[in-house]
């Protein structure tokens, strides 16, 4: 089941409500794929990183080897933002007199906590991880943050490329005006008041602005194409057979459809087994009620059930055990 999917795709996203077992299921899928001889990269995008807890070992922002064929990393947007800001600071320093360094640094520091910074940095790292890992790995598995966060992350590339597109168009327009002005000869009253004036220094600035914007657009368009490519990329929603996770799953499914992300299946985790006494039997019947709601709302979606484990899933051995259920 999940293994077939893992073998036929290049990129898998696991999402769903908090606490349903996204990290466990995505890790088990990654291990199952590695066990049949694939190179897999497991990536956590959740700011509250759980991969380290699951495998009971530290995992950082650089890939570490978990077991044969499986590397893992936890994206750290904070670290990406720091690096980004440092680069901006240093290029600003180059063009400002030293007595203004303090002002520049203050401005940049204020941007650190601006809304959207974390998302943008996360998106940037995600794009890089996919590009860098695409050839080295047979499969890249993303263990994402709870529903709302992830639905937004999926529409972000589209939004951002529209934004850069808009800005590029505006620059082109400004550039055309500058071109006209140049053709009509010099006018000293305006020349030094525009960003893209007639001097070569201004043209250089203009082309640098253009370069940055084009690089951005390229990155977003590429990421968007990868995510939207159904043959390579798929989204799996993990849930528990309870009222709230079921309702949230239906909503997330809706949001992802709107973002043109294809959802290949639903994984119902921690299902009550059928031969484990009266209590479990009662629970199982209760779960069927919720699953009926689910199949009524999402009749097209394929569903896989994973049964409740008697023990916690912690460490590689336990995840390997669970991975066997996915074959």
């Amino acid at each position: 089941m999940l293994l077939d999917l893992a073998q036929s795709k290049k990129i898998l996203f696991f999402g769903g409500k908090g606490g349903v077992g996204k990290t466990t299921i995505s890790s088990a899928t990654a291990i199952a794929r590695a066990n049949v001889g694939g190179k897999v990269l497991l990536v956590s995008t959740d700011p509250a990183h759980n991969l380290g807890h699951l495998f009971d070992r530290p995992i950082g922002s650089q890939p570490v080897r978990i077991t044969a064929g499986l590397d893992a990393l936890e994206l750290d947007p904070g670290e990406t933002i720091e690096k980004h800001l440092k680069e901006i600071s240093s290029s600003l320093h180059k063009m400002m007199p030293p007595n203004l360094y303090g002002e520049v640094d203050k401005h940049v520091a204020l941007s650190r906590d601006a809304p959207g910074m974390h998302e943008a940095a996360l998106l940037e790292r995600m794009a890089d991880v996919i590009e860098e890992g695409y050839d080295d790995y047979d499969l890249i598995v993303f263990d994402t943050a709870p529903s709302g966060h992830t639905a937004r992350l999926m529409v972000l590339p589209e939004m951002m490329s529209a934004w850069t597109e808009g800005l590029i168009k505006r620059r082109e327009k400004a550039d055309r005006f500058a071109e006209f002005v140049r053709e009509l000869g010099q006018d000293s009253s305006m020349e030094d008041k525009t960003i893209g004036g007639a001097t070569s220094k201004e043209q250089e600035r203009e082309s640098k602005i253009r370069q940055i914007l084009l690089r951005r657009r390229h990155k977003f368009t590429h990421l968007r194409e990868r995510i939207a490519n159904e043959d390579e990329t798929s989204f799996i929603i993990v849930l528990a057979a309870e009222r709230l996770p079921v309702l949230e799953t239906i909503e997330l499914h809706d949001q992802l459809m709107k973002a043109n992300v294809s959802i290949s299946c639903l994984v119902v985790n921690k299902r009550a087994p059928s031969d484990s006494g009266d209590f479990m039997e009662e629970r199982r019947i209760q779960e069927e009620v919720h699953l009926k709601t689910l199949s009524e709302s999402l009749p097209e979606s394929e569903r896989h059930d994973i049964y409740l484990q008697p023990h916690d899933v912690v460490g590689i051995a336990a995840v390997e055990q669970l991975a066997k259920q996915l074959q």
Binding site: I81, H84, L85, I88, S91, L92, K94, M95, M96, L100, E103, V104, K106, H107, V108, L110, S111, A114, P115, G116, M117, A120, A121, E124, M159, M160, W163, T164, L167, R170, R171, K173, A174, F177, A178, F180, V181, L184, G185, D187, S189, M190, E191, K193, T194, I195, G196, R205, K208, I209, I212, L213, R216
Partner: protein, 90 residues
């Protein structure tokens, strides 16, 4: 009047006429370009001026390229003093 003087007079008249007709166009194009530039500045500084900017992370990257224009820009936008507390350009 020699032939040479005549030519230079014609040249001068031609130049004068050219300027007379072309200047208004050049000025309006330059103005349109400046408006575009001002808008661009606004987009780059949006977040720091309290306008939500979905792409603050990316506009920040353009900051080094437009920072030295900031003073002229805020003056032109009718703000006598720098609108940003932390940019003390004036």
């Amino acid at each position: 009047m020699t032939k040479k003087q005549k030519e230079s007079l014609l040249k001068r008249i031609e130049k004068g006429l050219y300027e007379y007709y072309v200047t208004p166009y050049r000025r309006s194009f330059a103005r349109a370009q400046r408006d575009e530039d001002d808008l661009f500045m606004l987009l780059v500084f949006a977040e720091s001026m309290g306008l939500p900017n979905p792409a603050a992370y990316y506009t920040l990257e353009l900051l080094p390229l437009v920072y030295d224009r900031f003073h002229e820009w805020h003056k032109r936008m009718g703000m006598e003093r720098s609108p940003l507390d932390h940019i003390g350009c004036c």
